[in-house]
């Protein structure tokens, strides 16, 4: 069973068998999405921009959690106080494994809205709680994700630095996960459109719209029946 809690923007916590992975505890409009005393075993930031890395270093230090990220992000985390022995640079397509969890990064990128150009961003495949979860972070491209199999796909939809709704829907159509979860929307109608289009055009994929502080529980009931519940 896998519990996925949403904090808003691109921040999630995955929990299974007592292991918690925190993703992108960013700071948005000056406010941290996740409290600094949040307890996690692994903290991951998919890129070094504040809305992704946020207070990840503080949380990692406070909870003595591993910090995972690409090279630039790890360097920034180190600058922010993460001890070197807790830092791990995720190399693209090289799995990182701890008991019951496998995390594989894929090289993606987000658009640098201020300076132009692109910023490296990791997409992740996280295997835990019997599920394969695809997580694109702040990605504006799909990279290898369209070729990967996964049960759950978490995609940005807000445009700007990342995917627009159409890109997220297009990826869901190609990947056909069991569940598609939108994140990082910038307008109220975006998640509704995402749900509408997924229901209409993506065969086999159910859109699940999560509001901040909601938790999605997913499990294989009786071994092979996919079930989920949003609380």
């Amino acid at each position: 069973m896998l519990n996925i809690k949403y904090f808003g923007h691109t921040s999630f916590a995955f929990e299974a068998k007592g292991t918690t992975i925190l993703l992108n505890p960013g700071i948005v409009e000056g406010e941290p999405l996740v409290p600094a005393d949040f307890q996690a075993r692994i903290v991951i930031a998919t890129n070094h921009v504040d809305d992704a890395i946020g207070n990840a270093a503080a949380i990692s230090v406070n909870s003595k959690a591993w910090f995972l990220g690409n090279k630039e992000t790890a360097e920034k985390a180190a600058e922010q106080g993460v001890k070197p022995w807790l830092l791990h640079v995720l190399e693209p397509e090289v799995p990182y494994e701890v008991p019951d969890v496998t995390i594989t990064g894929y090289s993606l990128s987000r658009i640098d809205e201020e300076a132009g150009g692109r910023i490296d961003n990791l997409g992740l495949i996280i295997e835990m709680g019997g599920m394969r979860v695809g997580y694109l972070g702040d990605s504006a491209i799909r990279g290898l994700f369209e070729q990967l199999e996964m049960d759950i796909l978490i995609v940005p939809i807000g445009g700007g630095a990342t995917f627009q709704v159409k890109d997220a829907v297009s990826l869901c159509i190609d990947v056909q996960p069991r569940i598609g979860i939108p994140m990082r929307w910038t307008a109220e109608d975006q998640p509704k459109k995402f749900s509408k289009y997924i229901e209409q055009f993506s065969k086999g994929t159910k859109p699940v719209l999560m509001e901040p502080d909601q938790t999605l529980t997913i499990q294989w009931a009786a071994g092979n029946e996919f079930r989920y519940e949003l609380n």
Partner: protein
């Protein structure tokens, strides 16, 4: 004197009913005005002390007294008295059915013009005689509105009907309607309107006469005096025996009826008078005709007699009803529709998959209520159509959850085929009420633009129709055949390849570095890159291992072929290929293809 030349005083009742009907032939008002006339038809005799007795028969009128005093009426003169009568309905029923679409049989007539089309108008006018007497002197004038052309009389059950171009009136006349029968006239025409303003269907004026009929129940009688001689002759037939004779003579040139003749004898010695003649002959005396009656009495003196005589000129009653019915023109509204069709976004990136919101709004742009709306939308290929459960419909700004039909043909979501979408909403009058002028039906659905090509056009023509209840000729509006093109924004494709040939660690070993990158603005799909290994060298391996090529032998060496399903803008692949052999490693540039 023959019957034909007999002269009788005439009591004439002429009652005029004036009826007004509404646009759909409903009774709006009726007024009946009566005129009671006493006509002295004599050529030389006055009549005086004229009284018309009405009794209880005046109940439906506004006449206040049981009898009317007419005084003296001179030779050839007339005395008149007017009155009003209360009635519920005229003696003739007029109805008009103005059917704007006479070629389509329906229980109820069509009541609105469709704009900018030929309306096959059929006008049926029916006249029914509701009385036991004949109705004659009928003249009907139907004004033909200017929107109508090709006016023709389809049928006329009675009389003759003709259309006068000058006055634009159909005049129907020359017939009688027998008791409780009806007749009708059918006019055909073609109606054309080009704006939405309601039109007049033209008024009808009907005049008629019902001879011998009346709307009141007046049953008048007359008493009057005229030139009439009367007297008693007393003649002694034997001593003290007398014969007394009452003699009457009609001195007028009219028929006079003698109603009462009484003679009283005063006894010689006094005492109560004795009635000696008591006659009620009710005899009608012709001019100069005499009437007498006598009795004998014994008396020493000349008997003293007195008389009481009642007579009156004989009257005849004539009566008729004169009627006029004015039918107010029916107001004929116009039905027409407009539509808006929008794509959001109006254009999509080439070679991408983009959800596109399609909004179609059909507005009642006329003045008639609409009962049904039909939309046929056409989606070109490279568009994935919606599913029927994902359509949303709004009416009057609110989401409509009632019944409608939504069909996608073919019934699949294959983006490689064009699709026809039909939407039909009917019987609004029984669900949420007909669509009022200015109101609209809005339909929204999403489609998925599917890897559209920039050199191709994607027209999405639409046709909308609407109709009233009952349905006639539909109002239509449509786009051109190549209308409503979904725009495709051309995004440049740029797949670049770079190649380096480096010496390997061992003798005869080379490391070929190949980099393929998508430097374009659009995702590339089905990328295939081929690089050549010269004869004398053999393929050893590729790093990374996940990017192993298909190795195919050819006449002058070996080809390595890589295939990728998709490369997004900015995506890059880098492979290090190890080859080993002898000789010079000739360079050829890698070939790459994609869509």
């Amino acid at each position: 004197m023959s019957e034909n030349t007999k002269k009788n005083v005439t009591i004439d009742l002429e009652e005029s009913e004036k009826t007004r009907l509404g646009g759909t032939s409903e009774l709006e008002s009726i007024e009946v005005a009566g005129k009671l006339s006493v006509k002295n038809v004599s050529e030389r005799s006055r009549i005086w002390n004229v009284k018309v007795h009405l009794g209880d028969s005046r109940d439906s009128t506004d006449i206040a007294t049981e009898s009317l005093s007419g005084g003296e009426v001179d030779v050839g003169g007339t005395w008149e008295s007017k009155y009003g009568v209360t009635v519920e309905a005229p003696i003739v029923t007029l109805s008009e059915v103005y059917d704007t679409c006479g070629t389509v049989e329906t229980e109820e007539p069509h009541w609105a013009y469709v704009a900018s089309k030929d309306n096959p108008v059929k006008i049926t006018i029916t006249i029914k005689n509701e009385t036991d007497g004949e109705i004659d002197s009928i003249i009907l004038n139907k004004t033909i509105p200017p929107e109508l052309s090709n006016i023709r009389i389809i049928s006329s059950k009675s009389g003759t009907a003709e259309f006068d171009e000058g006055t634009r009136q159909v005049v129907w006349k020359g017939f009688v309607v027998y008791p409780h029968e009806e007749t009708n006239l059918v006019i055909g025409a073609t109606g054309q309107v080009h704006d939405k303003e309601p039109k007049s269907a033209g008024e009808i004026v009907l005049t008629y006469k019902g001879e011998g009929q009346q709307r009141s129940v007046l049953d008048p009688d007359l008493t009057a005096l005229t030139e009439f001689l009367m007297g008693i002759e007393t003649a002694e037939t034997e001593p003290n025996q007398w014969e007394c004779t009452l003699e009457c003579s009609n001195e007028s040139d009219m028929i006079v009826r003698l109603d009462k003749a009484e003679v009283y004898l005063t006894p010689e010695g006094g005492g109560e008078k004795q009635k000696m003649i008591d006659a009620a002959p009710s005899i009608e005396l012709s001019p100069n005709q005499e009437w007498s009656a006598s009795f004998e009495v014994a008396s020493k003196e000349t008997p003293k007699c007195t008389q009481e005589i009642l007579y009156t000129p004989v009257r005849v009653i004539t009566k008729r009803v004169l009627g006029t019915i004015e039918k107010t023109p029916q107001i004929i509204p116009v039905y027409k529709i407009d539509y808006i069709k929008e794509f959001d976004p109006p254009a999509v990136n080439s070679f991408d998959k983009t959800p596109v919101e399609v909004t179609i709004e059909v507005t009642n742009a006329g003045t008639a209520k609409l009962n049904e709306v039909f939309v046929e939308d056409n989606l070109p290929d490279d568009i994935m159509p919606p599913t029927s459960e994902h359509i949303t419909v709004w009416i009057r700004g609110e989401e409509y959850t009632g019944e409608y039909e939504f069909v996608i043909d073919p019934e699949d979501q294959n983006p490689e085929k064009p699709h026809k979408i039909t939407f039909r909403i009917e019987n609004l009058r029984d669900s949420i009420g007909e669509l009022e002028p200015g109101e609209s039906v809005k339909i929204n659905y999403a489609v998925m633009a599917w890897r559209n090509r920039p050199e191709k056009e994607y027209p999405s023509p639409i046709a909308c129709t609407a109709n009233t209840y009952p349905a006639g000729i539909p109002a239509e509006v449509a786009s051109p055949e190549d209308g409503h093109k979904l725009g495709v924004i051309y995004k440049k494709r740029a797949i670049s390849t770079k190649k380096a040939i480096n010496k390997g660690a061992d003798a005869g070993e080379y490391e070929v570095v190949l980099v393929v990158s998508n430097n374009g603005e659009v995702t590339a799909e089905n990328i295939e890159m081929t690089d050549w290994i010269p004869s004398g060298f053999e393929y050893i391996g590729t790093d990374p291992e996940d990017d192993q090529p298909d190795v195919v032998g050819i006449a002058d060496g070996t080809n390595m072929v890589w295939k990728w399903a998709r490369m997004n803008p900015g995506d890059k692949k880098k492979m290090r290929v190890t080859v080993q052999g002898e000789g010079e490693y000739e360079r050829r540039e890698p070939q790459v293809t994609s869509i």
